[in-house]
């Protein structure tokens, strides 16, 4: 089936079955591979994207459910990779393997959009479902605080 999607401000058409998760639509059909496959079960948060500005798990969201909603992926978070969180992530040198970090940044971006000056408790609550297997949590907290100051 053909679906016309709004991804990162562009109209994109894909021919997939209705139950195809957005994760695989993005990765396999639209070449947007920044959204990562970690568990396929909505647990780890590696596939976090924005749907109409709210963070969502791309592996749990079918293409049919998305309809005309605005999808933002890590590739579309900023024009030049210069979102305050992206800059802070580099400044603080957050990443180790880096695999979870696009999902972490997308969750954090949804947080800052609502709470520009989050407390540690706000951060822990919002980031509670994004797994970092390398254990960079202390730096993720620091980078979110740094981005919030900008």
């Amino acid at each position: 089936m053909n679906y016309s999607l709004n991804v990162n401000g562009r109209s994109r058409t894909v021919d997939v079955t209705p139950e195809t998760p957005m994760l695989w639509v993005l990765r396999d059909h639209l070449d947007l591979v920044g959204t990562k496959f970690g568990c396929g079960a909505g647990i780890c948060g590696a596939c976090t994207i924005h749907v109409d500005g709210e963070s969502a798990r791309a592996c749990q969201l079918t293409v049919a459910e998305v309809g005309t909603k605005k999808i933002t992926t890590i590739e579309g978070l900023s024009a030049n990779g210069d979102h305050p969180l992206q800059k802070a992530w580099c400044d603080v040198d957050v990443a180790q393997c880096g695999y979870c970090q696009s999902g972490q940044i997308m969750t954090a971006a949804a947080l800052l959009a609502k709470k520009p000056q989050p407390t540690d408790a706000d951060i822990d609550e919002k980031m509670a479902d994004n797994l970092c297997r390398c254990g960079t949590y202390t730096r993720i907290r620091a980078a979110i605080h740094q981005a919030a100051k900008k």
Binding site: T17, D28, G34, K36, G38, Q96, D124, G135, Y137
Partner: protein, 786 residues
């Protein structure tokens, strides 16, 4: 300002005998500096002998005609920061502007490298000798063969394991940088007609202060490319106190690509005409072949290109492959697959059964004690249990393979490219020289990607399907078909004299499946009669190296029980342990080595480190960790401090923790501090701290939440809901990593910072509550107190 190079590590000395620095002029201007190896001289392939002096894909650099420097980073990047830190060493010695440096991964490429397969039983040939001997059960074996592990003590440039990347590369990289600098300086000396001794280098330029002249490297490249490279013994090196780049904080070179979602990882790779594959295997460990599968139905499903039964061959286990036009089509078809397997003899294996056997072995622990405890005024005993755990890297195993006719090419997230190569060779029957391995960034390793079973499977499916395929494991596959951290049990007994001094120590380690004992560490060798019996309970559940093998569990057992002994003796645990450390013999035993294997940790520990050296390096960091956590503070009930230390992988680390436990048993780890002695230079301070912080979180996560259980020969857990790991709310608010410099060569951090955290936290829990945690995961022990 310049000084002699510090002594080479054993690995580097071995390398030194087989290699020489070489400079090559490049077509189009510029030059390359790197090592050539004689490894190919022993090659079975005659053609390799003719190309014995081509560059092996070790670390090396190219200086372009424009002066831009490209450093080829051969070590796989798995999150340990090596793609940033190792090139920093070259850049430091060469006085390069870091921003002028470009870093690229090198691949194993039959066109530019000289893999040198060797008969089993001979030592690896070093770089170029990719086919390290298959002592670990590598190629061709049925079922899931173990990884073809290169000799960790040898220079194995395309492997990252055992925290060896830094120690085995540090001096060699300095030599490459010093050689490149030397020819550029010589070029300036000849151009200006001044002696080399009047010249210095800074910011990618040669400077003659006397005449106030400055020549950017770019202006010297053409002449430098014609000059001979100095021999190793003619090179001069910076004094570490003059380092400008090393020891600073350098942000990871791939961070800009990571935060914008660029296709860095194995799972992100695509080539034209590729299909997507999944592979259903026997759920029973060590089971047999496919007895039935509805492949004809599967072939008719949407998007499916092919589905077929694979018989066990070339190291690839039996299974059913489904090849489709997208990952989701392959996953969806697999959900409808009905495959039956021959379960073989292991269909009744269970975790409960293994525990029963281990406990029976533990009940016989005292049989070897003899009269060892006869003189003790007081004895205490305790048993410790830790489960199998998974590596669970966040990027599930995957591999893109393109096998056509007489050639194979793969793109793999691997931490051991030589093993990937050998797995592909075994699976396809192709010679090594026909296989190209592209090493991608890996979404975590932790030891899992030393074993490249996934690469062999991808290659075989590509060959059988007749098209390039990306094999994608699900998270469930990744857990089920891991090679696990072995489970184990410790049955300990300690004997104290009337003054509370430790006389006798028995640590009976019972391992299931195998894995070393992790017993040959402190307090053995410190005036204590140490008994270290071990028992192995055989099991078909596959195991392999998990971050800080053996040490990751052994440290918890030994450092917890020492805390118990301190309590039994009425002593402060820190004082008790420091007193033991002070028991080191006054002088190193003849031959320089302590009691056999001491103090190792993981079998690859401070080989040759004697108790005296151990104490010299350990005491300062133990004291520093104690100081940083505020040891001795009076805390209310429900809060406590704990401390532990361990040496493995040539690193020495002490960690201290502060915890809070509520009356209803909720644990918060408030703070962890680490004090580390990993030699005289910290390469990248940011990366080093990050490794320490991450290892502490990993150690906490592993002790706290997950366990693997087995029933009917199968794994019970299947995803992160049943196999939970630590998320941000449970991470300590503060993790400090401190470094104490010593005269030793630098070593890695990814592993030695992990083992001490679990005992430090468990000792803190005891201090807070009086509850001793003797079983992992920690969630099995109630921490309620009143």
């Amino acid at each position: 300002m310049k000084t002699e190079l510090p002594s080479l590590s054993a690995a580097e000395q071995a390398l030194d005998r087989r290699s020489f620095l070489r400079l090559s002029a490049l077509a189009g201007g510029g030059f390359a500096v790197g090592y050539s190896y004689f490894g190919a001289a022993t090659s079975a392939f005659a053609a390799d002998a003719a190309s014995a002096t081509v560059f092996s894909p070790s670390n090396y650099l190219r200086v372009g005609a424009d002066g831009r420097v490209t450093i080829y980073s051969a070590r796989p990047e798995i999150g340990q920061g090596i793609k940033t830190s190792l090139p920093m060493i070259i850049a430091e010695e060469m006085d390069l502007n870091w921003k002028d440096v470009r870093i690229v991964n090198s691949s194993i490429d039959p066109d530019t490298s000289t893999p040198a397969p060797q008969p089993a039983g001979t030592p690896p040939a070093g770089p170029g000798g990719f086919a390290g001997p298959g002592g670990a059960g590598g190629r061709g074996g049925g079922g899931r063969g173990g990884p073809q592990l290169p000799n960790l003590d040898g220079p194995t440039p395309q492997m990252a394991g055992g925290s060896t990347s830094t120690p085995s590369s540090f001096t060699q990289l300095r030599q490459i940088g010093a050689a490149a600098r030397a020819v550029l300086v010589e070029a300036a000396a000849q151009t200006w007609g001044v002696p080399v001794t009047e010249l210095m280098t800074e910011n990618s330029a040669v400077v003659h202060k006397a005449s106030n002249r400055r020549a950017p490297y770019a202006s010297l490249v053409a002449k430098a490319a014609t000059l001979p490279v100095p021999a190793n013994n003619e090179l001069t090196f910076k004094d570490p106190k003059d380092f400008k780049l090393l020891g600073t904080r350098v942000s990871g070179v791939e961070n800009p690509d990571i935060v914008t979602g660029k296709p860095l990882f194995g799972i992100d790779q695509k080539i034209p005409g590729m299909a997507y594959a999944v592979f259903e295997k026997n759920p029973v460990y060590g089971g047999g072949g496919v007895t039935s599968a509805n492949v004809d139905e599967i072939k008719k499903l949407p998007g499916v290109k092919n589905a077929f039964i694979v018989t066990a061959q070339g190291g690839v286990p039996a299974g059913v492959a489904i090849v489709a036009d997208s990952t989701w089509a392959a996953f969806s078809a697999r959900a409808k697959l009905k495959a039956a397997f021959d379960e073989g003899a292991n269909g009744s294996v269970s975790w409960a059964g293994l525990v029963e056997q281990a406990k029976a072995a533990g009940a016989r622990s005292s049989e070897g004690d003899g009269d060892a405890f006869a003189g003790a005024a007081k004895t205490i005993e305790a048993s410790y249990t830790f489960p199998y755990i998974s590596h669970a890297p966040l990027e599930p195993q995957n591999c893109l393979a393109d096998v056509k006719g007489d050639r194979a090419e793969i793109w793999a997230p691997t931490q051991n490219a030589p093993d990937a190569l050998s797995k592909v060779a075994a699976a396809t029957g192709l010679p090594n020289r026909a296989i190209k391995v592209h090493v991608t960034r890996s979404g975590g390793g932790f030891g899992r990607r030393l074993n490249n079973d996934f690469a062999g499977q991808a290659a075989l499916i590509s060959k059988l399907a007749g098209m390039p395929v990306k094999l994608q494991w699900s998270r469930e596959d990744d857990l089920k078909y891991d090679v696990f951290r072995p489970a184990g049990f410790g049955f300990l007994k300690g004997g104290l004299d009337a003054n509370g001094k430790l006389l006798t120590w028995r640590h009976h380690r019972v391992s299931v499946t195998g894995g070393g004992a992790g017993q040959d560490n402190f307090p053995q060798g410190f005036g204590v009669n140490a008994l270290n019996p071990s028992t192995t309970i055989p099991s078909p559940i596959p195991t392999y190296a998990w971050r800080a093998p053996n040490s990751c569990s052994g440290a918890w057992v030994t450092q917890s029980f020492l805390d118990e002994l301190a309590q039994a003796s009425g002593r402060d645990p820190l004082e008790f342990k420091l007193d033991l450390l002070a028991n080191a013999p006054a002088a190193a035993p003849a031959g320089g080595a302590g009691p056999a294997g001491f103090p190792g940790g993981g079998g690859r520990g401070g080989g040759g480190t004697n108790p005296q050296t151990y104490a010299q390096r350990m005491i300062p960091i133990v004291k520093l960790a104690a100081e940083k956590i505020g040891w001795g503070r009076k805390l209310p009930r429900g809060q406590g401090l704990g401390i532990a230390f361990y040496s493995c992988h040539q690193g020495f680390v002490a960690e201290a923790a502060e915890v809070t436990v509520t009356r209803d048993g909720k644990l918060t780890v408030n703070k962890v501090v680490a004090a580390c002695d990993v030699g005289h230079t910290i390469v990248n301070l940011s990366g080093a701290e990050n490794q320490g912080q991450g290892a502490i979180v990993d150690g906490l996560s592993t002790m706290w939440f997950p366990s693997l259980n087995f029933e009917k020969g199968r794994l019970v857990e299947d995803n992160f809901d049943s196999y939970p790991l630590l998320f941000m709310p449970d991470a300590p608010k503060s993790i400090e990593v401190h470094f104490v410099k010593s005269a030793n060569n630098p070593t890695g951090l990814g592993e030695p910072t992990l083992p001490p955290v679990a005992p430090a936290v468990c000792n803190a829990i005891f201090a807070a509550t009086g509850i001793r945690v003797r079983e992992f995961p920690l969630t099995r022990t109630s921490l309620k107190w009143s």
